[in-house]
C-alpha cells in the first residue's frame, strides 16, 4: 500500500512538472504581434471556427484556453525586458516598457478652434504680423541686460518714478501722478473687458448649433421641417417681414427675443382694424360648423320612431300595413345618417298617408 502511494505521489509530481513546462511553452502557427508599450499582443491565428459556433461550455473552454496561451506569451515577452529593482534592493522588480507603437484613438472630441479676437481679425485684415521681440533689453542706465517687463525691468521701477512732467497742453493744477495711475487703471480695465468679450464671443460661437441641411431630404421630421421653413422665411432681403404665410403656419411672427417676452397689440390701436379682424374670426368660426347636425338627426330619428310606434299601434287595430307601412319602415331601419338624409324626401308621402288613415 505504501509503495503504491509513493509511486502515485511521484507520478503526480512528475505530471505537475510536465504541466508547468507545458504551460510555459506555447505553440502557435503565426507569431503574435507585440506592442509592449501598450501591453498589447495581437494574435492573427485563425481560430477553429467550428468550435466557436454556438454558445456553450465547449466554446467557453476554448476561449479560456486561447486567452491563457496568449497571455502566457505576452508575459514571457515582458519577462525578457530590461528590468530593475525600484526603491533599492527590497523593492519590486520594474520592467522598462518601450514606447507604445499602437496609436489609441482620442477619448474626447478634439477642441474646436476658437474664433479670432477683434485684434486678430484686424491684424489679418491689415496684414500686420507679430514682430518677434527679444525678452531682454539693454538698459543703458544700469549697463546690463534687463527684462523687457516684470521684475527689475529695463526702464526702472515705474512705481518709484519721482518725476512726472506736465505735458504741454495740460492743466498745471492737475496731479500728474494721479493721472498716470488713473490711466494705468483704465488701460488694465479696458484690456480685461476686451479679454472677457473675446471669451464670450468664443463661448457663444462654440455653443451655436450647426445649421441643419436646408435642402429637403425626404426623411426630415416635422420639427426639422418647421425649423427649416422658419430659416427659409427669414432669408429674404427684408428678413421675412413681407413674406406670405404658408397655409398651416401659425400667424404670430417669431419673436426676436426667442419667445421670452410676449408682445401685445397697443391698447388704443386701430379699433376699426381690430373690429374687422374679430368679424373675420367670427366668420371663420361660424363656417366650420359641421354640415350634419348630429343632435338634429337624433331628434328627427326619435320623432320618427315615436310616429312609427303610434302608427304601429293604430296599424295593429286596423291590421293593414301595405305599401305605406313598408315605406315608413325602410328609412327607420337604415340608420341615423341616411335616415336623416332620406327624411325630407320620404317624410311627406308617409305623413299624408298617416293623416288619411287617421
Amino acid at each position: 500500500m505504501a509503495a503504491v502511494r509513493v509511486e502515485a505521489v511521484l507520478a503526480a509530481a512528475e505530471e505537475q512538472e510536465a504541466e508547468k513546462r507545458r504551460s510555459i511553452a506555447v505553440e502557435k502557427e503565426l507569431e503574435l504581434e507585440y506592442d509592449l508599450g501598450n501591453l498589447l499582443a495581437v494574435d492573427r491565428n485563425p481560430p477553429p471556427a467550428a468550435a466557436l459556433r454556438g454558445a456553450g461550455p465547449r466554446r467557453e473552454a476554448l476561449l479560456r484556453a486561447l486567452a491563457r496561451d496568449n497571455t502566457q506569451l505576452l508575459v514571457s515577452r515582458l519577462w525578457e525586458l530590461p528590468a530593475e529593482r525600484a526603491g533599492g534592493a527590497g523593492g519590486p522588480l520594474v520592467a522598462q516598457l518601450p514606447e507604445p507603437a499602437f496609436r489609441l484613438p482620442r477619448e474626447k472630441p478634439p477642441p474646436k478652434p476658437r474664433p479670432p479676437t477683434r485684434w486678430e481679425q484686424f491684424a489679418r485684415l491689415k496684414g500686420i504680423r507679430r514682430k518677434k521681440k527679444t525678452s531682454l533689453v539693454w538698459d543703458e542706465q544700469a549697463k546690463e541686460w534687463r527684462r523687457r517687463w516684470g521684475y527689475r525691468r529695463a526702464g526702472g521701477d515705474p512705481s518709484r518714478a519721482w518725476l512726472a512732467e506736465v505735458p504741454a497742453g495740460a492743466d498745471p493744477e492737475e496731479d500728474q501722478f494721479a493721472r498716470l495711475r488713473r490711466e494705468k487703471r483704465e488701460r488694465v480695465a479696458r484690456n480685461e473687458l476686451n479679454r472677457l468679450r473675446n471669451l464670450a464671443r468664443a463661448h457663444r460661437a462654440g455653443s451655436a448649433v450647426p445649421a441643419a441641411p436646408l435642402h429637403p431630404t425626404g426623411h426630415q421630421d416635422r420639427d426639422e421641417l418647421r425649423r427649416v421653413a422658419r430659416v427659409a422665411r427669414v432669408s429674404t432681403a427684408s428678413l421675412g417681414r413681407f413674406q406670405p404665410r404658408l397655409p398651416k403656419e401659425s400667424a404670430e411672427p417669431p419673436s426676436r427675443s426667442g419667445g421670452k417676452k410676449r408682445r401685445f397689440e397697443p391698447l388704443l390701436g386701430n379699433l376699426a382694424a381690430e373690429r374687422s379682424r374679430q368679424l373675420d374670426l367670427l366668420r371663420d368660426m361660424g363656417s366650420k360648423k359641421p354640415v350634419l347636425d348630429i343632435t338634429r338627426a337624433v331628434n328627427k330619428q326619435l320623432r320618427q320612431e315615436e310616429a312609427e310606434a303610434a302608427a304601429a299601434n293604430k296599424g295593429k287595430k286596423q291590421s293593414k300595413r301595405g305599401k305605406r307601412g313598408r315605406r315608413q319602415q325602410r328609412p327607420g331601419r337604415s340608420g341615423k345618417k341616411s335616415g336623416a338624409r332620406r327624411q325630407p324626401q320620404q317624410q311627406k308621402p308617409a305623413g299624408t298617408g298617416r293623416r288619411k288613415k287617421a
Binding site: 401685445f264 397689440e265 388704443l268 390701436g269 373690429r275 374670426l281 337624433v298 331628434n299
Partner: protein, 206 residues
C-alpha cells in the same frame, strides 16, 4: 389693460357663441359706437371707446375694473363667463329656459334646475347648449333689459318691456326631446351663473 390675443379672442367668442350664436356680431359691430374687449388682470371687459380712453389714463395697478366684466380667464387659460355679462346675453339669447316660480328661488341659490321646476324650454335645444334662464313671474314689468344699444333712444316709460326677467344662465343637461321623457327629479339645466351671485359674491365681482 391690453387687447385680447387671437387665441384669447377665439376662446371668448366660442363661449359667447354657445349662448348667443352668431349674434356676437351685434356686440362686436354696433351701430351706436365702437365697443371693444380688453383684458385686465385675467378679466375680460367690454367697454366703449370713450371709456377705454378714460381708463387708459389710469395706472395699471390702481385700475380695478372698467366697462362690463364678461368673465375671466382661469389659470389654465379657460374662459369662464360671469353673471355680469347677463345684460348682454339675455337680449340675444337663442335658447331660453323658463323656470317655475317655486324653483326659481332654488336656482338663485346656485342649484341646478330640475325637471319639476322647468316651465318652458325653447324648441330644438340641443344637449349641453348654453341657455339663458328666465323666471315665469306673470307680472309684466318695464324692464331695463333692453338691448344695450337701444337704451338711450327711448324716453322713460316707452322702453320695450319684457314679460320675463332673466335670472341667470346655464347649460342644458338634456335636449328638448329628452326633457319631455325624463323623470321629474332629473336635472335639466346645469347652473352656471345667477343674479343671486351679486349678493353672494359681492366681494369678488368686478
Amino acid at each position: 389693460m391690453r387687447p385680447l390675443t387671437e387665441v384669447e379672442t377665439r376662446a371668448v367668442f366660442e363661449k359667447l357663441g354657445k349662448y348667443i350664436g352668431e349674434n356676437i356680431q351685434l356686440l362686436v359691430d354696433r351701430p351706436d359706437g365702437t365697443y371693444c374687449f380688453r383684458l385686465h388682470r385675467d378679466r375680460v371687459y367690454y367697454l366703449s371707446e370713450k371709456l377705454l380712453k378714460l381708463a387708459a389714463s389710469v395706472p395699471r395697478e390702481s385700475l380695478v375694473a372698467s366697462g362690463t366684466c364678461f368673465g375671466k380667464f382661469t389659470k389654465s387659460q379657460k374662459f369662464r363667463l360671469s353673471i355680469t355679462a347677463l345684460d348682454f346675453l339675455a337680449p340675444y339669447a337663442k335658447y331660453k329656459v323658463w323656470v317655475k316660480p317655486g324653483s326659481e328661488q332654488s336656482f338663485l341659490y346656485g342649484n341646478h334646475v330640475l325637471k319639476s321646476g322647468l316651465g318652458r324650454i325653447t324648441e330644438n335645444t340641443a344637449q349641453y347648449q348654453g341657455v339663458v334662464v328666465y323666471s315665469m313671474a306673470d307680472v309684466p314689468l318695464v324692464s331695463a333689459w333692453a338691448p344695450p344699444g337701444l337704451r338711450e333712444g327711448y324716453e322713460t316709460g316707452e322702453l320695450p318691456h319684457v314679460l320675463f326677467i332673466p335670472q341667470g344662465f346655464g347649460v342644458a343637461a338634456k335636449s328638448t326631446q329628452e326633457c319631455r321623457k325624463v323623470d321629474p327629479l332629473a336635472i335639466v339645466v346645469f347652473h352656471q351663473a345667477d343674479v343671486g351671485e351679486y349678493v353672494r359674491n359681492e366681494d369678488t365681482l368686478t
